[in-house]
Subunit: 139 residues, 2 copies
Amino acid sequence: MLNIGDVARQGGVSVETLRYYEQQGLIETPDRDANGYRKYAPEVVRHIQFIKRAQDVGFTLRDIGDLLSLKTDPGASCSDVRDRALGKLSEIEEKIDVLSRMRDVLSTWTNACPSTGPVSACPILDALEARKGPANADR
Amino acid sequence: MLNIGDVARQGGVSVETLRYYEQQGLIETPDRDANGYRKYAPEVVRHIQFIKRAQDVGFTLRDIGDLLSLKTDPGASCSDVRDRALGKLSEIEEKIDVLSRMRDVLSTWTNACPSTGPVSACPILDALEARKGPANADR
DNA sequence: GTAACCCCTGTAGTATACTTTAGGGTCAAG
DNA sequence: CTTGACCCTAAAGTATACTACAGGGGTTAC
Ligand SMILES: [Zn+2]
Ligand SMILES: [Zn+2]
Ligand SMILES: [Zn+2]
Ligand SMILES: [Zn+2]
């Protein structure tokens, strides 16, 4: 049986994070020792790693709670899990699209900037100040 | 001269947002009418659009405050602006990289999931539970 | 003179995933 | 028997960009 500090070290998270996960219902409420200390079975370390891996691919703690419910729901099927993953996949692709558009615009702008001269002549600021299109007068 | 509501409508933001921008120092403190109402020159609408366009390409309000300081700083040069843009560009590329890696992993996992059968046999959950590599036993 | 609509200030709430703080017990070593 | 490391709870703070709320005054038309 492990103390919370042991679990934290082995799981690569802080003690506070563990208490937070418990409060959020992401890990089982551990039994307590006579002194009130939480006592964990070693396998809880894997549960924490489950959470961290899920976060690594973009799931929020709320999503992860969902996933954990599916794991223990006898009526749940593989496709339920797959649906969450596909949903997350589109969220991520959407974010990539938005960021790619930002990247393209910024890239165009930085290429247009001569990097010399006063800010008053900077095409980047011009673009930000401008009406809508990429090139137009300031009135 | 415009009331705050006029500016909000023309700038496509809420009245509250305008007061917030003012509080954050992103727009000039407007003069007040005898009744205490803020009175804006029409050009403030462009300043708001500057802020919104900068947000659209990923700048935070803090970044935008910086950019606005450069605009009015006589000692600032074009390259200062370009540096901010390049910095933002790398931030965005970094985010894209992270998201792309998430996308690849999720895509692999969803392809591996048969979408039928119980969750206990789901390769997605297996992957989340697993030690580190893509394939290994649960102990 | 009153309804409908605008404006004001200051403070608190929203979402996410923690971290920090305050205040206080427990345990092992020397 | 005290020191240092560890554990406990509950509440508040962090970052971002607003939004909402509470409570109150101004303006315009009928
Ligand atoms: Zn497990
Ligand atoms: Zn420039
Ligand atoms: Zn301007
Ligand atoms: Zn599956």
